[in-house]
């Protein structure tokens, strides 16, 4: 039963990381920008929801507000930073460094505006537990599970069936042609980052409710998400989501065998071996962007 519970906990954590990974991959596959500032938006959104619930705003409204905040901040980063860098012909490395700058700024803005200390949501249902088939989950864990699966299915359906989703895939697959067929790639980039940033607000808030918030810890979550994206096959949203769950389950199970502080090392070690065996990732996907 212990192992089953560890697997269940891993699946929940994996679903949350899966949303981070899928949203990061969606933006990266479309723009080719290694947007590490995504981790800063994740943190900011958690704190926005924490602040709003603290002043009495109902949790669902606080969650919606943080999603809107994430989308706006993301769109702002694209419009004011990445777009300008594109115009100046900046290389992917320059954009990565700029993104690291935004991440650091966002983390410090959060620490200044709110607090640099660890904080927890003051929500009475936060510690309530439910039992499903003998496995115990906290209410925030159930929310993570439900939201992650629904939002993942939603983004896949959006990408496949809506006009904007198809337009985003067109820009991702041939940006030069998109420019000369009037698809306005720069506008599409703003839509994509807004969607990705709105999505990452959800795990940013729900993991914060389940565990706690701290301004400087989101980078390790993003790192795991990026590993999942690469292991899943860059450009494959399904691959990113599945590998996030696999890696989180492995990390969760590893604590039964090694000390908890080594669990991250176990995950990274497995990733290195996996990528040596299958460098294209779990799902083969032709990807032409500069990495």
């Amino acid at each position: 039963m212990l192992y089953l519970q560890l697997v269940a906990d891993g699946v929940v954590t994996g679903c949350a990381i899966g949303l981070v990974s899928v949203s990061f991959a969606y933006f990266y596959a479309t723009t080719g920008i290694f947007h590490v500032a995504h981790a800063g938006i994740y943190t900011l959104c958690g704190y926005v929801a924490w602040y709003l619930t603290g002043i009495g705003v109902p949790f669902p409204l606080a969650l919606l507000a943080s999603i809107a905040c994430g989308a706006l901040v993301g769109a702002g980063i694209q419009a004011t930073l990445y777009r300008q860098l594109d115009k100046k012909g900046a290389s992917p490395l320059v954009k990565l460094i700029a993104s690291i700058g935004v991440l650091t700024t966002l983390q410090n803005v959060v620490a200044i505006l709110f607090t640099p200390n660890i904080v927890q949501f003051d929500l009475p249902w936060r510690l309530a537990r439910v039992t499903i088939g003998g496995l115990a989950f906290s209410v925030p864990q159930v929310l993570v599970l439900v939201f992650s699966v629904v939002l993942f299915a939603g983004i896949v359906a959006f990408s496949k069936y809506t006009t904007l989703g198809k337009r985003i895939r067109a820009v991702a697959s041939n940006p030069a042609l998109a420019e000369i067929t009037h698809l306005h790639p720069q506008k599409v980039f703003i839509y994509v980052i807004a969607i990705a940033s709105g999505l990452v607000a959800v795990p940013g808030v729900l993991i914060g409710v389940d565990q706690a918030l701290q301004p400087y810890t989101s980078l390790i979550i993003l790192l795991t998400a990026v590993i999942a994206m690469i292991a899943g096959g860059i450009g494959s949203l399904g691959g990113a989501f599945i590998m996030s769950i696999v890696l989180a389950v492995v990390q969760s199970l590893s604590v039964a065998f090694v000390s908890g502080r080594w669990s991250v090392a176990v995950v990274f070690g497995i990733f290195v071996v996996f990528i040596l065996i299958r460098p294209e990732g779990l799902f083969r996907h032709k990807f032409n962007r500069a990495i």
Binding site: K166, R167, A170, L177, I180, T181, H182, K286
Partner: protein, 232 residues
């Protein structure tokens, strides 16, 4: 439609490739544009569409100067480019590609060519609506690329080496199809091509560029009376 370039100078950064290029293209005409690699053919097309700035000279579309306009504004006025090599969205199906490009090039005054028209003009695409573009043959991909360039209300299509990677018999077939459609719909075209014999079959005018300078600009009949190779 008349597309005209007068003393066009363009290049990359501070470096000029074109040396005062001038030409006129009339409604429904096909202009075959020849020259060795690096002579300035693609640079000319890019400057006409606005992907490269005109350093000097004028570009006129139906008498309106367009050399300062954005790419988007030139597309709205009916200029289209079929780029060399990758003129399709490899991850999208034929149907999805046509749907989104048709939507983004919709002419508020009424489309000259809709998605349905493209299927009528290029039946090979109709049979492959659900196929992902990247999985089609080179010839079919070029048909799709041409179809995408036609959507909306095109006046002039700039064709950049559409025969690259195609078998010789497919080249003749593709060019014949392109010529038929251009004549039928009064769309003019500039055709950059290395397969000179095939291109000459559908050309109305011929232009040869050498080291950025136009060295021949005449009708097809005039071109047939000279030895073109002397100009390369």
């Amino acid at each position: 439609m008349t597309l005209e370039a007068r003393g066009l100078v363009a290049g990359y950064g501070d470096k000029s490739i074109l040396d005062k290029v001038s030409f006129t293209l009339k409604d429904g005409e096909i202009l075959a544009f020849f020259g060795h690699n690096g002579a300035g053919k693609s640079t000319t097309l890019k400057a006409v569409l606005g992907l490269l700035p005109a350093q000097e000279g004028e570009i006129l579309l139906d008498g309106e100067r367009i050399e300062k306009l954005s790419v988007s504004a030139r597309l709205k006025r009916g200029l289209r480019l079929l780029p060399e090599g990758r003129g399709v969205f490899p991850d999208l199906s034929v149907e999805d590609s046509i749907e989104i490009v048709a939507r983004s090039n919709r002419d508020p005054n009424g489309n000259k060519i809709s998605g349905d028209d493209v299927y009528e003009l290029l039946p090979v695409l109709k049979d492959r609506r659900k196929i992902v573009a990247g999985e089609m043959s080179g010839g079919q991909q070029q048909m799709l690329a041409f179809g995408l360039a036609l959507l909306g209300s095109p006046k002039c299509v700039l064709l950049e080496e559409p025969s690259v990677g195609l078998q010789p018999d497919l080249v003749e077939e593709l060019f014949a199809k392109m010529s038929d459609i251009c004549k039928q719909l009064s769309i003019s075209a500039i055709l950059i091509e290395h397969k000179i014999v095939s291109a000459m079959k559908i050309a109305d005018q011929v232009m040869i560029i050498n080291s950025g300078k136009l060295v021949f600009n005449g009708t097809k009949t005039e071109a047939e009376q000279i030895d073109l190779w002397n100009y390369f």
